[in-house]
Amino acid sequence: MDRRAFLAGGTYTALPAAGAALITAYWVTVGTSVGVALAWVLPAFVVVTAVGAASGEWMWRVTRYRVDAERFHVHTGVVFRKRLALRRERIRSVDLTADPVLRVLGAVTVRVGTGEHAGAEGTVTLWPVRRASAEALRATLLAHAARPGGAEAGDGALARFDPGWIRFAPLSFLTPALGAAAAGGTLQVAEWFGMQERVIGTVGSWFGLAPVLLVSLALAVGLIVVGGVATVALWVEAWWNHTLDRQADGTLHVRRGLLTTRSISLEESRLRGLEVVEPLAARLAGGARVDAVATGLATGEEDKAESRTLLPTAPKQLADQVAAKVLREPVASPTAAVLTPHPVAARGRRLRWALATVLVTEAVVVLLGVLLTPVLLHAAWISALVLVPVAVLLALDAYRALGHTLTGSPVGTGGPAGGYLVARSGTVRRATVALQRRGIVGWTVRRSWFQRRAGLVTVVATTAAGSGAYTVRDAGEADGLALADAAVPGLLRPFLVGDQEATALRG
């Protein structure tokens, strides 16, 4: 622990307090004078900041940590005294983050995770810790991850940041969302200063300058641009200077961040595979990101999704190269393997689902149109003209995405990881997962009444890693079962009947 806690605690409370003080001072000044406002606001500000600094100091005084041969002990808590002892071999992750305040002070926040599914219980946060002590603590706690023959393991950088990746950043659902948030935020701030009506009036007056459609379009474009800029800013903050490397002790190490730096380690022995994810917009631009499929990653935390990402959206080819390097595959990544397509019946299912969705939407609009106003009837047929082709295109694209295969040979005789089950699906979020075959801890086979008529099954491999289950959607029945049987030899075999010889040859 570090005395920088005093400064950090003070700064953290001072910043929001200053904001609140500014707004309060504005209102008091409107009512009286600047002097009175300062007399009211300044002492309160000083007191709040002092309390913040004192609590930071106090946290520092009451928090202690110690590592012995078996356990990692933490004593903490001001009101509720808490004593934690994590078994060292249970510790899965040690993540360091440093926001700008801590960086100036040369300190970091350390989060030690055991990967227990019970949410926050398995995670201990130490704040603030001097950077050097934190690095040492991480090395100590993750020492048990060291692989025999660690020297060859430390083969350095697997991916280096390229500023060109920024072009994928605005292609995110965040862009319109942040655009809308900016509009809402502007109104909120205006309200604090009592100027909301003036803002609404100004925007309203613009509609007199040009045709309504043109003004609406300009406003929408403006918001999208604002949202895009904000998305890029967030992305740069999160991903600047990203590096992914493999350390000598057998951990994958992601470092990134412009203002707040994050340093995330993942024991390679916890890795069960990778997922190459292509959101629709990024895919059209040729981008893909790489997520880890690992056991014991933080679950139920705010940064859960991001702590899984090994490579942000980058050119697809690079994503596949990085995937190959992470998985130590000498030739090509399993996620780039040629996949077996699924039966045509799966395309029919996708088309029917897409058209049914459009039909239900339009039926609601038409019903409302008949009951309320004929304008909606026109809206219905115009939107149908747009939605039907879009739905058909998405359905066809979803069908093209479907595919599965197995790489490597069964457990033990193959490469370092013994081969992968590769499955791809999705159109809005196309994901190709490569799951270690020895990481599969069970099978679920699903078939609805409609699937039975179409001769399809959905095969789900359950695993301890990632989301817990990875799905091969709408495979042909015999094909899907043969896949499951071959992926984990012996597990499904006793429960299969039919063409045993053909599968036995493959086993």
């Binding site: 197995l406 801890v441 069970g442 099978w443 086979v445 039975r452 817990g468 042909g476 009947v497």
Partner: protein, 171 residues
């Protein structure tokens, strides 16, 4: 690289697990379904009797729901009884459930982490128990409903013993 292709007949399929659930499960499912349906029907019926202007709009849905409910209560548990099956081998636990949405689940004994039996108040009346076997996967639990309580207890003990025989981490 293995690319499974099947072109000969007969096609590969999953065989039904060996054991049916206890016949008392039909009664248990029926009572359960009946209770589920009774709640909205009774609510709608009572409201319909208390609010004369809306009587038609409350009693008609109540009647339709009741008719569908009776049909479901009679038909579904029998369908389920035919389709819910289970089997435990030396290697794995294997179940089949569902009629409209069929589901087969397999969990190898070597990967089992916990074995629980649960008996709700209704199940106790019918002398039944539900066995739940979980693996390290958050989504891989295998559940056998409607087992005879004694069978479930024996199974649970056997599975626990078999699981302890494999010392690995099971992830």
């Amino acid at each position: 690289m293995t690319t499974p292709t099947i072109d000969e007949s007969p096609p590969l399929r999953l065989r039904p697990p060996r054991h049916a659930v206890d016949p008392r499960a039909v009664g248990w499912w029926s009572v359960q379904l009946g209770l589920w349906i009774a709640v909205p029907v009774v609510t709608l019926g009572v409201l319909g009797l208390l609010i004369p202007p809306a009587r038609l709009w409350l009693l008609v849905p109540a009647g339709i729901l009741a008719a569908l409910g009776v049909l479901a209560t009679v038909a579904l548990p029998r369908l389920w009884f035919r389709h819910h099956r289970w089997e435990v081998t030396d290697e794995a636990v294997y179940t089949r459930t569902g009629w409209f949405f069929q589901e087969w689940r397999v969990a190898p004994l070597s990967r089992i982490q916990t074995v629980d039996t649960v008996r709700g108040p209704l199940e106790q009346r019918f002398g039944l128990a539900t066995l739940t076997v979980t693996t390290a996967s958050a989504k891989g639990a295998v559940k056998v409903e409607g087992l005879d309580a004694e069978t479930a207890a024996t199974l649970s003990a056997d599975l626990t013993a078999a699981t302890q025989a494999t010392p690995e981490d099971a992830t």
